[in-house]
């Protein structure tokens, strides 16, 4: 098997506060292969965005990576100094954020932002960079790119702006893209266009991507594999069809049942009692145990690891380790 584009091993992120150290990520591990889209879902506070930021060293103090490794093409990047990380960002790893208005500088024309980014990462001349920028805008589906490239960000609609942001992320032809809620601020018809665009780019360029979102529908259509996060841990990870249709972890089950579907008529949505624990009060053992319907003694004391529950499908739950409820 070839080396995955990105590998995360037992990643831990801590935030040191006056009231003690909060563990935002606790032992997160996953791999993303070439051309693969890994979806990361979870509710607010599950640690999805922190994972994205940690991968590219954008955790601001008082947060810090307390342990674990991040490997890009088999080489560690979590221990690089700030300058090398800065060079890595944009060149090897692209970022697409939720709000397209705040990720573009409103005072610069789109052309200036694109050309500057391209020239930072490559040796192209100004003119070649401009050509490349126009090509990128065409590729992300902006009509009349030659004309629109000299517009300011506010002259574009939300969907078009997000396309510009995607073009910006692609400037240096990164091997890996982190998309953090790329369609949350957009309407459904535009969202569908952006999703299709992301899928096409990953397929055509063999780019790996991590798609962070709370919208299961978006994941279902876009991702190849999906990781479900809860309280800073990955509780289930596997092929998207398996996780959605046959979730194994009780939290994942509850989450899937809680989503109203267009296809099936459900009389009552599944309710998960309670809410996500605060980072300062994560329960011992399995973090989900106080809300879990299948909880038994071992869940309260022993933290479950990820256990294989199917083809390439793992869940962190004592129910599936074969020892039963004893």
């Amino acid at each position: 098997m070839s080396v995955p584009v990105l590998s995360v091993r037992d990643l831990q992120v801590e935030f040191v506060t006056r009231r003690g150290t909060l563990r935002a990520l606790d032992g997160v591990s996953f791999d993303i292969a070439k051309g693969e889209i890994l979806g990361v879902v979870g509710e607010s506070g599950a640690g999805k965005s922190v994972t994205g930021s940690a991968l590219i060293g954008l955790i601001d103090p008082p947060g810090r990576i307390a342990g674990g490794e991040v490997l890009l093409h088999g080489e560690r990047i979590d221990n690089l100094d700030a300058e090398s990380l800065r060079r890595l960002r944009g060149k090897k790893i692209g970022m697409i954020f939720q709000d397209p208005l705040t990720s573009l500088n409103p005072l610069y024309r789109v052309s200036e932002q694109l050309i500057q980014t391209i020239r930072t990462h490559t040796t192209l001349s100004e003119r070649a960079a401009r050509e490349r920028a126009i090509g990128l805008l065409n590729e992300v589906g902006i009509p009349a790119a030659e004309r629109r490239i000299d517009s300011y960000p506010h002259e574009f609609s939300g969907g078009m702006r997000q396309r510009v942001v995607i073009a910006l992320a692609l400037c240096a032809e990164p091997d890996f893209v982190i998309a953090d809620e790329p369609t949350t601020a957009l309407d459904v018809s535009v969202q569908a266009q952006i999703i299709a665009l992301l899928k096409r780019l990953c397929a055509e360029r063999g780019m790996a991507a991590m798609l962070v979102t709370h919208d299961m529908g978006v994941i279902a259509e876009t991702a190849d594999r999906v990781g479900v996060m809860y309280a800073g841990r990955v509780v289930e990870i596997g092929p998207v069809g398996d996780v959605i249709k046959e979730p194994k972890h009780p939290y994942a089950k509850g989450l899937m049942g809680a989503i109203p579907s267009l296809e099936a008529e459900i009389d009552r949505l599944t309710q998960i009692p309670g809410s996500m624990p605060r980072l300062s009060a994560i329960p011992a053992g399995c973090a989900f145990n106080p809300r879990c319907v299948d909880v038994f003694d071992r869940c309260r004391s022993e933290r479950p690891g990820l256990i294989g529950v199917g083809d390439n499908h793992k869940a962190a739950c004592h129910l599936h380790d074969g020892k039963g409820r004893a």
Binding site: S44, D187, S189, A192, G241, I244, A258, I259, L269
Partner: protein, 328 residues
């Protein structure tokens, strides 16, 4: 006051213009006329007692403006809102309208902005009771507030807390308790769950359905999330650029969408049941409402558009406003 129909709420030809002109001096210097944005352009529908009518559409389609006009937060430009036989828009019915106000309440999208952060929860929930003079005895009010908190799944002792001590879902429960405090019969919900996580959204939607069964509430439900709307609504109106393009029973709309925009919208929604689905993404975006396309406003994006669509706005016939569906 005798009306022939059985509808609880009747909305007839509702219109709302917003003045988006430049300042007076600029208009004079640049010789420009006043400019108006037609946020809502001739919307009519009715809601029966005890049903949930949902309005769906993308941002800028005018759903929230309709909601605000229905509850009276925004004056109408023209058209009529009649609730239980009382016109909310005609001047003559003023006294009755005041009584009607109690019977209709609103739940807002952002539970962080819709509760006064400096009031304790018990005071927030008691406000409608005091404002409408439903009870005067403090002990009785306190008991009622406790009862309401229990109804929405909170603890009666939570009344002494402030809103910031609650999560988004719990705050939305407080907002629901407040609407129930006024003994409201008709509740307008403007995106009540779009700020919430899915598991919390499920809790709130279940609660809203339980309360509807228990108290026979009538909901006007505004959302852009079609799956949520399908779960909640009895009937659905689809809006595009300030106009209703299709009204149908929830089941009919999802099994047999007729207007091209409805079909496009349904096709665009990512759904968890559709893993690996291939589809043709929709082209284009909602046009600028200040200068909407002529005729049928959907024609630039419509695959079935003809010359007639560009010239003539289609009328709502049999639940659909489309020349292709109603060819005569």
């Amino acid at each position: 006051m005798a009306r022939k129909s059985t509808a609880f709420t009747e909305i007839t030809d509702l219109r709302r213009l917003f003045d988006v002109s430049k300042p007076f001096l600029n208009r004079v210097i640049e010789r420009q006329p006043k400019q108006f944005l037609k946020a809502v352009d001739g919307v009519s529908f009715d809601i029966k007692k005890g049903e949930t009518f949902a309005l769906v559409g993308e941002s800028g389609s005018g759903k929230s403006t309709v909601a605000r006009m229905v509850v009276g937060l925004l004056p109408v430009t023209s058209g009529e809102v009649v609730i239980d036989g009382i016109s909310m828009t005609k001047v003559a019915d003023h006294a009755q309208r005041q009584k009607m106000r109690r019977r209709m309440q609103m739940i807002f999208q952002d539970p962080y902005a819709s509760l006064n952060p400096r009031w304790r929860v018990s005071r927030i929930i008691a406000e409608p009771i005091r404002a409408f003079g439903l009870m005067t005895d403090n002990a009785a009010i306190e008991a009622r507030v406790g009862e309401l908190l229990g109804l929405v799944g909170l603890h009666p002792a939570d009344g002494v807390k402030f809103p910031h001590e609650f999560s988004g879902g719990q705050r939305q429960r407080i907002a629901i308790a407040r609407t129930l405090a006024a003994n409201a019969e008709f509740i307008v919900c403007d995106e009540p769950t779009s700020a919430l996580d899915v598991s919390v959204q499920a809790q709130i939607l279940n609660l809203m359905r339980d309360l509807q069964k228990e108290f026979g509430l009538t909901y006007l439900f505004i959302s852009h999330n079609l799956a949520v709307v399908r779960h909640m609504a009895t009937r659905i109106g689809v809006m595009y650029l300030g106009r209703l393009v299709e009204i149908a029973d929830s089941k009919t709309l999802f099994s047999n969408p007729r207007h091209p925009y409805t079909r496009m919208l349904l096709d665009a929604v990512p759904d968890i049941g559709m893993t690996g689905r291939q589809r043709t993404p929709v082209a284009g975006e909602i046009p600028n409402p200040i200068n909407p396309p002529s005729g049928c406003t959907f024609h630039p994006r419509c695959p079935l558009a003809t010359a007639r669509c560009k010239a003539e706005a289609p009328k709502m016939i049999d639940g659909v406003a489309c020349h292709a569906v109603n060819p005569n």
